[in-house]
């Protein structure tokens, strides 16, 4: 009959109209300022600087090596290196950033600064409410505003933070241990490598790149940085959700 389709459609919309008052599950809207949609752990928005210990400025992991500033595609990071050095978390004298600014309006949240950082000093935050009342100074985030504790990092990205902490602990243990001979130093990064290669196939190429740059008598920080960067790579690939790898699930359950 002519018009029966119209009536069927009207019945359907009437059911939706009344149903939305009866059944709250029908309404998919998240009323944003009051409600927030559940955040997925891998979400990221804007970088922040990680610090250890109670004092934000003293505990910054950043050694102002300028790698992130150089790698940043839109050039939104501005670093000024200190002339003096102060002991870092390991106790080694390191330079620190006098100024570390990131321009919110320029940052494109690409995470490249995080990927290139050899010291795990810069990580991605999840705070997306980056509004400011002024176009100029307020959008330039300073070192003080960017510094956030490692506990906060654990809170927002538990799995990733646990992996990073494990890496750092291993590196510190290695740094604390006496390094008498090149054989020992070369063997140390090599020992975890086979296991990780066995765990996840994409990591198989990582150990050769990590192991060679370990000259034992080099300048104080260089080998450590190289080792760390190599291990950070493998750690991130391990932490990334690869369902066929047997080990990461155990790690995830432990961290969660």
């Amino acid at each position: 009959m002519f018009g029966s389709g119209v009536l069927k459609g009207m019945a359907e919309t009437a059911r939706n109209f009344l149903g939305s008052y009866v059944d709250k599950d029908r309404l998919t809207t998240v009323q944003y300022p009051e409600e927030h949609a559940p955040r997925i752990e891998a979400s990221r928005n804007f970088p922040f600087l990680v610090y250890d210990g109670p004092d934000p400025m003293a505990g910054l992991r950043c050694v102002s090596c300028f790698i992130c500033e150089k790698e940043c595609p839109p050039k939104c990071i501005i670093i000024e290196k200190s002339t003096d050095k102060k002991p870092d978390a390991v106790g080694k004298p390191q330079a620190y950033p006098v100024k570390f600014n990131i321009d919110v309006s320029v940052c494109m949240s690409c995470q490249i600064c995080v990927e290139v950082c050899p010291f795990d000093a810069i990580k991605m935050d999840v705070d997306f409410e980056q509004t400011a009342t002024s176009r100029f100074d307020a959008l330039l985030r300073t070192k003080q505003q960017l510094a956030k504790s490692n506990e906060y990092y654990h809170q927002i990205h538990p799995t990733e933070a646990a992996a990073v902490d494990a890496e750092l602990a291993a590196a510190r243990a290695k740094a604390a241990a006496p390094k008498p001979a090149p054989a020992v130093a070369a063997a140390k990064p090599a020992t975890p490598a086979p296991t990780s290669a066995a765990m996840a196939s994409p990591v198989a190429t990582a150990p050769p790149t990590a192991a060679p740059p370990a000259p034992p008598t080099a300048l104080s920080s260089r080998p450590e940085a190289a080792c760390r960067s190599g291990e950070t790579r493998s750690a991130t690939t391990e932490a990334s959700p690869t369902p066929d790898a047997p080990a990461p699930p155990a790690k995830e359950t432990a961290s969660e």
Binding site: T13, N16, F17, T28
Partner: protein, 393 residues
């Protein structure tokens, strides 16, 4: 005068009381102003309420909340919209015909307002009781087409012109079924006066009203009138003239700020006016639906019926997708026009047949059988196939 009567006539009494303070030579113009001002206040207010109700209703149909931020449950939204459209820049295209471009929304709003002159809002509540009220309504209602074409032509934009062309074609095509659907009521009452038409429907039999919608020709006439009214007011599913997806906003694409708001206002006022006319013609105007409810003031019933019809308009808008231009025209000329013409004959048959069950059966059959034949015919002509396109080389 009893208390319900006093409440029913409160506005009329107030007007006469106020007129008593006006010197005699000025009384005609004062009377006109006192009649017009409430209409000019109430219907834009209804427009404001309708916009927020429409947005909330459409939202609920789509399982959303709709506006719920400004004021309690979002009911100050129209005020926010009004402030926004007032403070927006009024952009006029450089190539536009400045005068016509400026006049078009004004003509639309004026045309939409002056049809209310013959609309009986309550008992004794009509601005003028013209004895050719219906004719006046349809004649003035045609001014809307003029303003729409003014807007489309003066904007000097292809989308505006396409929208205006579509709107004019659609409005002229649907004006014929609109008027023909109203003709049956004129045949039944023998009058063009809207007040006489409402008075003809105020009786009750066993508590039930004598509305024309409760007759076969009245029911068919009401449905056909409402379909034509939807097309006349450019509302979904007949909103091709302002189809956002293909011609952006049709004839008012080049309008911004308060002129755009005036177009919106004019459109809604036109919708209220045609709905009000449908109420006057078929739903008994300000008459109560049952005889035991006559103590409720007449204007309350008018606005209650109007809100119900607006609700159905919103409901239809939330349900039906937009028609194609050929479907629109085909529907007007192949279905609406024959059905309204047939309905005129049915009304004549109703008038000449003796009262009783036979009259009901004959008139219903005269309407239902052609309707089924029409729908079968339309179904047979429907060819579902992969479309082939030809392009210019």
């Amino acid at each position: 005068m009893t208390t319900p009567d006093t409440i029913d006539q409160i506005f009329v009494i107030t007007k006469h009381w106020l007129l008593g303070y006006v010197p005699a030579p000025l009384q005609p113009i004062a009377s006109a102003i006192l009649s017009v001002l409430p209409v000019m206040g109430v219907f834009p207010l209804l427009f404001a309420i309708t916009t927020v109700l429409e947005r909330k209703g459409l939202g609920r149909i789509q399982n959303r909340y709709g506006p719920n931020r400004v004021g309690p449950a979002g009911f100050w939204q129209p005020a926010a919209d009004g402030i926004k459209s007032l403070t927006k820049e009024d952009v006029v295209p450089r190539n536009a015909d400045q005068i016509v471009h400026f006049l078009a929304p004004i003509v639309l709003v004026i045309a939409s307002f002056i049809v209310y002159a013959v609309l009986p809002i309550g008992r004794n509540m009509v601005i003028t009781d013209l004895n050719s009220g219906l004719l006046y309504f349809f004649a003035v209602g045609s001014m809307v087409e003029l303003s729409v074409f003014m807007a489309g032509w003066s904007s000097h934009s292809k989308y505006s012109l396409l929208g205006a062309m579509r709107a004019t074609a659609q409005m002229i095509s649907y004006e014929i079924p609109l008027v023909l659907a109203a003709v049956v009521v004129i045949m039944a009452t023998g009058s063009l006066s809207t007040v006489t038409i409402v008075n003809a429907q105020t009786g009750y039999t066993m508590g039930f009203p004598h509305w024309f919608v409760f007759t076969p020709w009245g029911f068919a006439g009401f449905i056909l009138f409402m379909i034509a009214a939807t097309a006349e007011s450019n509302r979904s599913p007949f909103d091709l003239p302002e189809g956002e997806s293909e011609i952006i906003a049709g004839y008012y694409i080049e309008y911004s700020g308060f002129k755009f708001a005036l177009f919106f206002l004019g459109e809604y006022l036109g919708m209220f006016a045609t709905s009000g006319l449908a109420i006057t013609l078929f739903l008994g105007g300000w008459a109560a639906p049952f005889s035991f409810l006559t103590w409720i003031p007449s204007y309350f019933w008018f606005f209650a019926k109007l809100l119900v019809i607006i609700g159905v308009f919103i409901w239809v808008r939330g349900t039906l997708p937009r028609l194609r231009q050929d479907q629109l025209m085909g529907f007007a000329w192949k279905f609406m026009l024959p059905m309204t013409l047939l309905n005129v004959f049915v009304a004549a048959a109703w008038h000449f047949l003796p009262t009783g069950i036979i009259r009901w059966a004959v008139c219903t059959a005269l309407l239902v059988i052609p309707f089924i034949v029409f729908s079968m015919g339309l179904k047979q002509n429907k060819k579902l196939q992969v479309r082939t396109y030809r392009f210019a080389e």
